[in-house]
Amino acid sequence: MSRRARLCVLAAGLLATAALLVAAVLRVPSFGGPWHPYGDRAVEAALRRNTANTVSAVNFDQRAFDTLGEESILFASVLGTVVLLRRTEDERTSEPRPVSVPATMRRYGIAALPVTLLVGLYVIAHGQLSPGGGFQGGVVVATAFHLLYVAIDYPALKRVRAVGLYEIGDALGEAAYVLTGVGGLLAGAAYLANVLPYGTFNTLASGGTVPLLNAAVGVEVASAVVVLLARFLSQALEIEGGRE
């Protein structure tokens, strides 16, 4: 396609998108107004399933299939990173030199690590009740371990974090989500249907399959982020040489 034709196609696409956007924005409910057609229905559906956190009810119940897609995107991209950032034949690994970290920073890091880990696990466990959930808590849990790298050094992180286990955790989290969905089929309903008892409102075991799917995402995200950062860290600190 010639440059001129390409620009014409681009212009047509941009104009059409702009026209659609303007048409859509003109009919959006006004900012901060009292009319929330989608929100009202989502809240009603969440309450019917005894799920206190409506956002989790949307993510893991009303739109559970969308979340399977999102979880799989993360899984696939981490898999891609693992393949791309592996050590190639013409590269070699070197031991990173130990670095000295100010004592105050070391103390702060060691004090912050258990607190961060606990906050992350809390956010995952209470996904069906309060803001947060598997995704947010998973990221917090994974970053907690990396306080070791920031506050002490890379070997300290490596000693505590066995990447192999997190690779398995990543796959298990993804598989648990897919299989919980199959549970819906086995119960005679649809894939990813919420077939478990809804429990008592505002308790940890409420929301049917919501806490299970939420926990699966938590395990997957925490493991995925650990594996992802492990690859970036080994490229930045250990692997050298090779063609460019």
Binding site: N53, V55, S56, S94, P96, R97, V123, P131, G132, G133, F135, Q136, V139, V140, T143, H146, V225, L228, L229, F232, L233, Q235, A236, L237, E240, E244
Partner: protein
Amino acid sequence: MADPAVDDVLIVASLLFVAAAATAAVLNRDPARQAVVLSLLGLGLAVLFTVLQAPDVGLSQLGVGSALTPLMILLTVRKVRRQRERRDGERHGGKRRG
């Protein structure tokens, strides 16, 4: 947050902060500094989402935008610099720096 006027002030303040941080991130040309500004931008966005009553999104933004992404950028910058120093070292016949 019962008073709507307080809400408005918080929303406007965090919007302005986000606009300033985002502009600073674009104008900064050094990737390592950009990562730090990006981290501040992530923090501002997290506050903005929270005052707009979307704490779930705020939490994600805090974890990904202000911790994970800047760390990945910094590690990438470190890798590229190390590679470049090694190449320059070999070209000048000098000793290789780690």
